[in-house]
């Protein structure tokens, strides 16, 4: 006679459920922390061009760039319940309103090429200021893509792997 015997070993079900709840709580904390870190990362990456301009500026005139993209990237709680932790970083509607150049800086653009702009250049690295003295200039080069959104997604993807490893007790 062929028989099959099933024997459950190890933890009993109440203990498994308790362990699962503990992991679930830890996951919620980790995910919220990740959302905060992702916000900081996106702010940092989006401000790279700002730093470049300021570093090159002789008089450190903040008019070179006010860092409006970075200032308007925030973490938003979309849903935070017992079962769901859902956060958003960098609300497009807000960026469109407060820093409409967010897309040109992220993806790169040539929309200013061959179109006259007024202002002047200062400093040995040639930082442009849209104020007096006024000169008419025609840019020949487009805006280089910073890809701060894609790079933040990459940052999040990498950290999620670490979190999963941690929750499984790997580290």
């Amino acid at each position: 006679m062929l028989s099959v015997r099933f024997v459950r070993k190890g933890k009993d079900f109440p203990q498994i459920i308790k362990d699962f709840e503990e992991v679930s709580e830890l996951a919620k904390v980790e995910i919220k922390e990740l959302a905060e870190k992702a916000t900081a990362e996106m702010k940092k990456l989006s401000a790279e061009h700002t730093r470049e301009l300021r570093d090159h500026s002789v008089d450190k005139n903040p008019q070179a760039s006010r860092g409006r993209i970075s200032e308007n990237i925030e973490m938003k709680v979309i849903e935070e319940t017992e079962k769901i932790s859902h956060y958003g970083v960098g609300e497009i509607a807000k960026l469109k309103k407060e820093a409409p150049h967010w897309a040109a800086i992220n993806f790169g653009s040539s929309h200013i090429v061959n179109k006259a702009v007024k202002g002047h250049f200062t400093g040995d690295k040639g930082v442009f200021y849209a104020n007096k003295p006024w000169y008419k200039m025609i840019p020949k080069k487009g805006i280089t893509a910073k890809n701060y959104i894609e790079r933040t997604q990459y940052f999040v993807m990498s950290r999620i792997k670490e979190i999963l490893l941690k929750l499984r007790g790997g580290k």
């Binding site: 929309h111 080069k141 990498s158």
Partner: protein, 163 residues
């Protein structure tokens, strides 16, 4: 001079895309490295740019200080029309998801000459290809032709080797 790994990955991907697009009968596509070169008058659409962005270094194995390199690759399509943008991205994604051969290149006079194949780049574990339309938030008719129909594909690759 031998190129280092990041540059080799970029060159290998470019060579792979050129070859695969020809096989797929897309012989009029220009593949270049730097997005700023897209706007050069000498280049005509469609254009694909290849760029290696950030790199994540993962711990290799217990007891070793070797690391696994997982770079982020950005592949951007600049198409002539909306239809061409969609066709090109649907052509590229199956080509990319199977990975590409890695070559070690020698650089002479700023030009890469193909060396021997030295492994294969595959998608890093736990990652996926993403693709999205590039929307600059500006009316398309006011953009230059090269900015109107753009599409961005991202992927993370691994050589499966510790360094």
């Amino acid at each position: 001079m031998s190129a280092r790994t990041s540059r080799n990955i970029e060159h290998s991907l470019k060579a792979y895309l050129v070859a695969q697009l020809e096989l797929a009968e897309w012989d009029n596509v220009t593949v270049i490295f730097r997005d700023k070169d897209v706007y050069a008058d000498t280049l005509t659409l469609p254009i694909i740019t290849v760029k290696l962005s950030d790199t994540e270094w993962l711990d290799g194995e217990i007891g070793s200080n070797l690391l696994e390199r997982n770079p982020l690759l950005l592949i951007e399509i600049h198409a002539k029309s909306e239809g061409q943008r969609l066709d090109l991205k649907d052509t590229l994604i199956p080509i990319l998801r199977s990975g590409f051969p890695y070559y070690s290149y020698t650089i002479a006079s700023n030009e890469a000459t193909q060396g021997a194949q030295d492994g294969y780049c595959t998608m890093a574990s736990g990652t996926k290809i993403t693709d999205k339309e590039v929307n600059l938030g500006i009316d398309k008719s006011s953009l230059v032709q090269k900015d109107r129909y753009r599409h961005l594909i991202t992927m993370v690759v691994s050589r499966g080797r510790l360094e």
